[in-house]
Amino acid sequence: MIGKMKRAALVGVCVLLAAAMTGCGKKSGPAAELTVVNYGEYLDPDLLEQFEEETGIKVHYEEALTPEEMYTKYKSGAIEYDLVCSADYMMKKLIEEGELVQIDRSKLTYGSNIGDKYWKFSEAFDPGNKYTVPYFWGTLGILYDTTKVHGPVDSWDVLFNGEYAGEIVMQNSVRDSFMVALKYLGYSLNTDNEDEIREAQQLLIAQKPDVQAYLVDEARDEVVAGNATMAIVYSGEAYLGHEYNSDLAYVVPKEGSNVWLDSWGVTKHCDNMDAAMQFLDFLCREDVAMTNFEYIYYSTPNEAVIAALSEEEQADETLVPSDDATVNCEVCTQTDEAVTELMNELWKELKAE
């Protein structure tokens, strides 16, 4: 009797808990809803409200720190996302795994705002531009304090020649760090040649004593605060760094670098394609893209927004990277499991040194 009651109570509470926990992820009721996942602070929250007001579609907004974290969250299946925004190589991986559905670009009223140049960048990971819509883009380069450097900074060499020992902040990311080393060595950042990757690791291990710290978001702040002389950052971060401290400058080294492109895609879990398309179209609209650009300050592929910028802003390499700066740059399209695993393993070795 007692056992039964206990079990009944347990089951009852479990069911309640389960209902409460799944309730928030599932779509319920007639009103359209979308669940999207994006990087943190990568969309002006006011725009989500505006979208809900304009269309009546409720948006559940989820955040992930890195593409890998997004992928882990997505794959765990705890929440079914309708739309994802992530990096080039991660979108490629999702396309290859059949997680994304095709988008009819012609149905986007404002799709033409995205310049041809960027659709072409996209082709590197989404041939034919069937699955993704460009969102923001930029380069990876060196942010440095002009008052503290002696000599020009135009090559990755400054990170490896020991001249700035203890004053360098690297990215705490497997890909970005390997990317720098591979480019410095003159290899493709998409290489799957194990020798080249191991050579890059040796270079990074030799560099480790000179590195002050491996950081992600704080990399920029350390240079702004004067704790470090130079850091590897994304171009958008460099723009904000310059806003805080006008002594800072940003360069895409001459050996070339990574040009990255974050895009939106619709997943196979989406059962309201119409709402998803409205969301994508909304983001491409000039006024929305402008508001969003002013919130994030990464380079926008939206040519209507670029045209509306001041001349000074248009000439700013961190906001609108020129074709000259990106000539030696590559889009990262490395999705090979074995290469990723090798890099992760080598990175762990590097960290353990």
Partner: protein, 278 residues
């Protein structure tokens, strides 16, 4: 027939606890165990359980052990003088000093560690102050010392509180008696206060050693990503490495080590008085 009724009531009262433990302790543990003993294809394997013995992981685990042991020792050395000083305070001041110790815990832990980052960085507050008196600048940020400061700062209250409870319970008469018999204050501490505080000390050790052994946020922020604790390795397996199986395997083996350690403390605990957590 009052016995079953009583039992009934007790079961009912305990059921929220049972549900909580089941849903948030037992179930997740089973899931972790399942991940640890399977590979990506879902086949049974014990490979991940032994991954902890690879050189990289051993190195990270030893460094964690070093940090955790150092942290525990520093916390003990700091906690005893503080608690003994508090014993000599009046009731009101005692409450206030306890309040001061607990106060920082009301603030988000990550914010406090970020504050330490500001204090310890090259151009930080500490080096600014040291510069004023002609010392430095010291390179503390991104070194093991910074991690040690962070964990000691973070876990000190967990050492103070159980020792405080144990020492406050000691009857003043015992100390008076020892003094009457000619014991100096150090002998009183060594022969009376310390032995009676051991249950509290053991609780403190468990509550400081285990979390500082497995922490990863402090080493991430104050170690600048250059220093790797076993907690960081596990975190990376789950986030960037996307290998939940290896991460779970490492967690399980770590848990086994901690359990073995705990078994030792609980054996010595049962010999003395029952320990008090708070």
């Amino acid at each position: 027939m009052s016995k079953p009724r009583e039992l009934n009531k007790r079961t009912l009262v305990a059921s929220p606890y049972a549900v909580w433990v089941l849903a948030f302790t037992v179930l997740p543990l089973i899931v972790i165990l399942q991940y640890a003993m399977t590979d990506a294809a879902g086949h049974l394997t014990f490979r991940h359980l032994f991954e902890v013995f690879s050189p990289i992981h051993v190195k990270a685990a030893l460094f964690s052990l070093e940090i955790a042991a150092g942290c525990t020792v520093f916390c003990i050395l700091l906690a005893y003088p503080m608690v003994i000083a508090m014993r000599h305070l009046g009731m009101k001041q005692r409450g206030f000093s306890l309040f001061i110790i607990i106060l920082p815990m009301w603030m988000n832990f990550i914010l406090r560690i970020l504050a330490w980052q500001m204090i310890l960085s090259n151009n930080g507050i500490l080096n600014f102050l040291l510069g004023k008196i002609g010392i430095g600048p010291l390179q503390i940020a991104n070194t093991p010392a910074a991690i040690m400061i962070g964990v000691v700062y973070d876990y000190l209250p967990y050492m103070i509180l159980p020792i405080y409870t144990a020492i406050m319970e000691i009857n003043e008469d015992l100390i008076e008696a020892a003094k009457d018999l000619g014991a100096g204050s150090f002998t009183v501490f060594r022969r009376v206060i310390f032995p009676l505080s051991i249950p509290g000390l053991l609780s403190g050790i468990v509550m400081v050693f285990v979390p500082s052994m497995t922490s990863f946020v402090v080493s991430d922020i104050l170690g600048g990503g250059k220093l790797q604790l076993i907690g960081n390795v596990i975190e990376q397996e789950f986030t960037t490495g996307n290998d939940w199986h290896a991460g779970s395997g490492l967690s399980v083996s770590l848990m086994v080590f901690v359990l073995i350690g705990m078994a030792f403390t609980s054996v010595s605990k049962t010999e003395g008085k029952e320990s008090v957590i708070w």
